[in-house]
Symmetry: C2
Subunit: 336 residues, 2 copies
């Protein structure tokens, strides 16, 4: 039996961190740019490296919610929250609380677990009000509100995160269809939902299908358009202030939807060109995933290289006194 | 001219993160275990890979403070703070404030810059008291108090972080002596002090010299003993609650001093065996540096493999609902 491929097989340097004249750290990874017909436009590393997409596939996990009709009364803000890895700011927590209330449900019906608020204003508010964070603060609470909405339609039991629950069976089916492959593994995500493995290429193909979808197409195409447009319309709901997804989508003004996933996955949907992008940094380094997707968004015309947000992810690094001490840049093997 | 070696040349997998049955992320690095005579006991990756030790070398940066006699009135708590990358808890901030006051100096004399408090209690206190963090909260403020103490002795100017300032010239001299090599580069650290590059092997050699030093030796040996013993005596001052340096040193009860540095450097001083350890994860992933040093401390008899702290760095990973979702483990190429 051949040795199974590993995540680091054939990975290439993507992002370098220089301090003065020394390369201090380097991040290896895999990146693929795809067309919806399955053609690879360009790639670095191993396109068929197996990954968990983690939260980068939330727009896929939300497809059954829309396609089934369960989400027909949801507005674009709901859909953006369903695709979000939010930071538990007031707008996120209140948005999900309202959504649950519309369903006649409450925080206790979620199965995502409690997470500390990452949003500084909300964190400070909790301290000042002597409150504790709850499941609404979990970065996945919007996705779970979507699961609960689908579950009401499907009539499944309360434990909607179990892998053989009708909600997760529907998610798996959609996931395998849009990635074009059977998922060989699943893992349990930080929010307790199953996360289905695929290849970097499979994830990029799914994003290309989102990119090329038309609202005159079939139910799936219309669901894809609704989700991708909701993300681009509400960058603040998808992540939060200072976060890459929010900042990059704001900077691109509707030219792309982007989404991060834990362990340094990043995807992009480029409707103007019909391209999909997926990348994984093998060490899980988020800063490198953010830098690499920034470089690819510039390369494919979605992001203005002179937009001030670019410097947050690529370029000079400053220290605590504002001195320039180094540089984050693309590796020569990538886009230098 | 041969191509200069790069940080990733000959790096090997050290730490793996598994989720269910899939290797989700992997960290490559270099690690060296040395004797004080320059003999390599064992190594992984490239011993002569060039790195910035960053904060892992604070006990080296404190040598001139002791050797010069400038620090003769300092207690072990001062020395622990001089070697600390603390998290700005009350004990750290107050300890450094008192030290500066003993010098007749104040927070404004520091040149480390302001950093948000990482310690949750202190962060919450600042919020409740409507205060802002200051330079005392900078994780390097104790090192800088040491620099200011040495500076008083040397009679240098106020800008003690400049590379040609007498304080930094003294640091460089000690650094090159204990690492056994001329430093080929320096970078500016997060706290604005110069950080001199060395090899992983050079850093491990320095740690072995700290490990083998005797308080019946010369001024350098006595300084090494004082600093290493201060670190082991005050694990809480060197980092803070929940932090690896503090937790590991507490668990080892005087069997080793350990210190982390930014961009995933970790060192250990093992006085019982006279061994020194240094490692660098090439991607800067702190979790992997913590896991790798934990494994090496167990391997070299300093840390009990059954101590509960081990599970914080190696072993099963839990998600936000406490479910076991994966595992952090040593790579087969390392210590599996």
């Amino acid at each position: 039996m051949p040795k199974p491929t590993q995540i680091h097989d054939h990975a290439v340097p993507l992002i370098e961190l220089w301090r003065s004249d020394l390369l201090e750290s380097v991040h290896f990874g895999h990146a693929v740019v795809m067309r919806p017909n399955g053609e690879i436009v360009e790639s670095w590393g191993q396109p068929d490296a197996l990954i968990y997409p983690r939260s980068s596939c939330k727009m896929i996990q939300a497809l059954p919610l829309i396609e089934s009709g369960a989400g027909r009364d949801l507005g674009s803000a709901h859909l953006a929250l369903a695709c979000a890895s939010h930071q538990g700011a007031g707008i996120h927590v209140q948005g999900v609380a309202r959504w649950l209330s519309e369903l006649g449900l409450a925080e206790g019906d979620l199965r995502c677990g409690t997470q500390a608020a990452e949003d500084i204003d909300e964190r400070n508010r909790l301290v000042l009000d002597h409150e504790s964070p709850c499941q609404l603060h979990n970065n996945c609470s919007g996705k779970h509100a979507g699961f609960l909405t689908l579950n009401r339609h499907l009539g499944g039991g309360a434990e909607y995160v179990e892998v053989d629950h009708p909600v997760q069976r529907a998610v798996r089916l959609a996931f395998e269809e849009v990635t074009g492959m059977t998922s060989p593994h699943y893992g349990i995500d930080g929010c307790s939902a199953p996360n289905f493995a695929t290849s970097v290429q499979g994830l990029a193909l799914a994003m290309a299908r989102f990119a090329a979808a038309s609202d005159t197409g079939d139910a799936r195409a219309r669901a894809m358009v609704a989700l991708r447009d909701a993300m681009m319309r509400h960058p603040d709901l998808v992540a939060g202030e200072t976060r890459a997804c929010t900042e990059l989508m704001r900077a691109m003004g509707g030219r792309a939807a982007v989404k991060t996933g834990a362990e340094a996955v990043f995807v992009a949907i480029l409707p103007q060109s019909g391209l999909g992008i997926a990348l994984k940094i093998i060490d899980g380094g988020v800063r490198a995933a953010e830098a690499a997707i920034t470089a690819l968004l510039i390369r494919h015309g979605a992001l203005d290289p002179d937009h001030p947000v670019v410097a947050r992810y690529l370029g000079p690094m400053k220290n605590r006194r504002g001195l320039i001490v180094g540089q984050t840049r693309c590796a020569p093997e990538f886009l230098q």
